[in-house]
Symmetry: C2
Subunit: 346 residues, 2 copies
């Protein structure tokens, strides 16, 4: 489970290790102790994956994401689809409608144009599906061996309907925790494509633009408190972030969390916990109890929410902690991911 | 002058070469023939470095830029200052006031935190100078040897005062062409720092946020037609882009173009033309003749415009071409940069 150890907090004479890109505790430490002292603003300090920008007539929502997945192509997607969907989803979980995307490409000398074209075509399709325009771009090339194929950084923005406040600090005791489908598919699909499973598995990444699903969900459950996509660090890390932001506890029921049997099997063989594995086409929704059933039904009607499930509730006790009631009836603390388990998965 | 040859147009079974990142003809070919068929929208098709986004109450301007400069530190700046200023300037040349920036970091495993901190501090100072907020970010880490220290992709946006239309297609015959200072400083400073000059030169990069200078310029010359920062590909390539967008000719007077003696000497030794070398703290302004003097005076009063000069005029003849009247009185065509001469300078 745990990656290489680096004593916290990170100090100026330490070195960056892979775990600093994990989305887990080391990433939080890097951001809190290294980035925020230098690059700080109210939106960055809020701890959400998006920035709400005040302007006279409404608010613009913006988010940025670097994509470095290896390999570039994997079952169910590729770096291009990932680059579009990752940022679309970060905007959509604010409750805003994503409208525009920028894309910056860092290409390695020697990259076959054919490869680039496959990726661009994939971006085009994903952008079309998400109904967004790619409005600005940049391309740089570095010498062979100075990058790994290509990296894509996307920045998205959208506009927020007035009066909508959905973010990680809105969870309230009594709220119901929903997920839109099975956990861990993306991370394990990428791992399988690298040949690191030691056996072949028919696991597809779930990478998808979720703004349509979220729109349907919000129509059914307009008082939704929190939406977030459990990417790096998985469900467990994402819920820990929200529990800390909202200063609430959470109680999950292990037997209700949807996990594909092939993902479960792969995780058991490798000693991974699927609750820490990245997803790229799933959302967590935290909704008031009286809207939970409507939210669940709305997700079930959408192609990307067929396996949506109610997995737990927000509690007053244990503020900042996520507890898991296991299949055998025990209760254990589900902590934030500590190090890195699967580098280069997004 | 010319980099490695790659037959145009780029085809699907070709490979990416360094010249595709040059900002010159090969980059244009890559964008036109490979990117635009897949990722296209009116703002991307306009050929400007920024996207104007229509919304009910005014327009948002956005631009994105990947930064891969090597080495990370050079006289006068570093990748952090470059990453802030490059994008601030791309927004400012639209006539918009840059307000917000996002930053995506791709870090190489093993990067000393000290190095990162120096760069972040430099970003902070540049952001403060430019009066912008960094509002969203992302960090990924790749294995040692899979990137070169770090890469930074920034996306900026600002808001455009109503009724302002400044872009590459607005140049008109009779307009005066101004530059805000000496050409080629940035590219040669980076080259010198790499030890590629073969001698030591006291050349500082000009990297700077130009929104303040542009604000002063526009107050003095409110009918300015075109503003652009001559980065990759230098003055010659940038003016060729504008000449093509506006379908006008241009005539430059070589003896009026400001060039630092040390840059001139370095270029002569290496066989470079300073008009093709990147700048990171200079603008080209194309203004109606009756506002040219006021524009020039406004630049002279600003710290970043002390060496501003009138270097030529827009002509009706030779549409799409830039001509240079040389010191000895001959006239030659100043073409767009063909290949790559200085990779990794921004």
């Amino acid at each position: 489970m745990e990656g290489p150890v680096c004593p916290l907090p990170l100090k100026h004479d330490d070195q960056i290790i892979l775990g600093h890109g994990s989305g887990g505790r080391l990433t939080h430490d890097l951001i809190k102790n290294i980035f925020l002292p230098y690059l700080s603003s109210p939106p960055l300090l809020s701890g959400d994956d998006f920035a709400r920008l005040t302007r006279p007539n409404g608010e613009v929502v913006v988010s940025t994401d670097c994509h470095i997945v290896s390999p570039l192509f994997f079952p169910g997607g590729d770096i291009g689809r990932l680059a579009v969907c990752g940022t679309v989803n970060d905007i959509a979980v604010s409750g805003a409608q994503p409208l525009y995307l920028t894309a910056g490409f860092i290409l390695e000398e020697g990259l076959p144009v054919q490869t680039l074209v496959r990726i661009l075509e994939s971006m085009r399709i994903a952008a079309q599906e998400a109904s967004i325009q790619i409005v600005a771009g940049d391309t740089k090339v570095v010498e062979k061996g100075k990058a790994d194929g290509l990296f894509i950084t996307t920045t998205g923005f959208g506009f927020l309907p007035e009066g909508r406040t959905i973010n990680g600090s809105q969870a309230q005791p009594g709220d119901v925790i929903l997920v839109s489908g099975s956990m861990g598919d993306h991370g394990i699909a990428v791992l399988a494509e690298r040949g690191e499973l030691g056996f072949s598995a028919e696991i597809q990444s779930d990478v998808a633009p979720l703004n349509g699903l979220i729109q349907d969900l919000l129509a059914a459950a307009p008082h939704t408190h929190v939406l977030r996509d459990p990417t790096r660090g998985g469900l467990a890390t994402t819920l820990n972030e929200i529990a800390a932001q909202s200063q609430v506890g959470m109680l999950l029921y292990e037997n209700t969390i949807p996990i594909n049997p092939a993902v479960q099997a792969a995780c058991e063989m490798l000693g991974f916990d699927p609750l820490y594995i990245a997803n790229e086409g799933k959302i967590i929704a935290i909704v008031p109890p009286d809207e939970a059933e409507a939210a669940l039904e709305a997700m079930h009607r959408h192609p990307y929410g067929k396996s949506a499930a109610r997995i737990g509730e927000v509690t007053r006790n244990d503020a900042g902690r996520v507890l898991l009631k296991t299949r055998i009836g025990a209760t254990r603390i589900l902590d934030m991911l500590a190090g890195e388990i699967l580098p280069r998965i997004c």
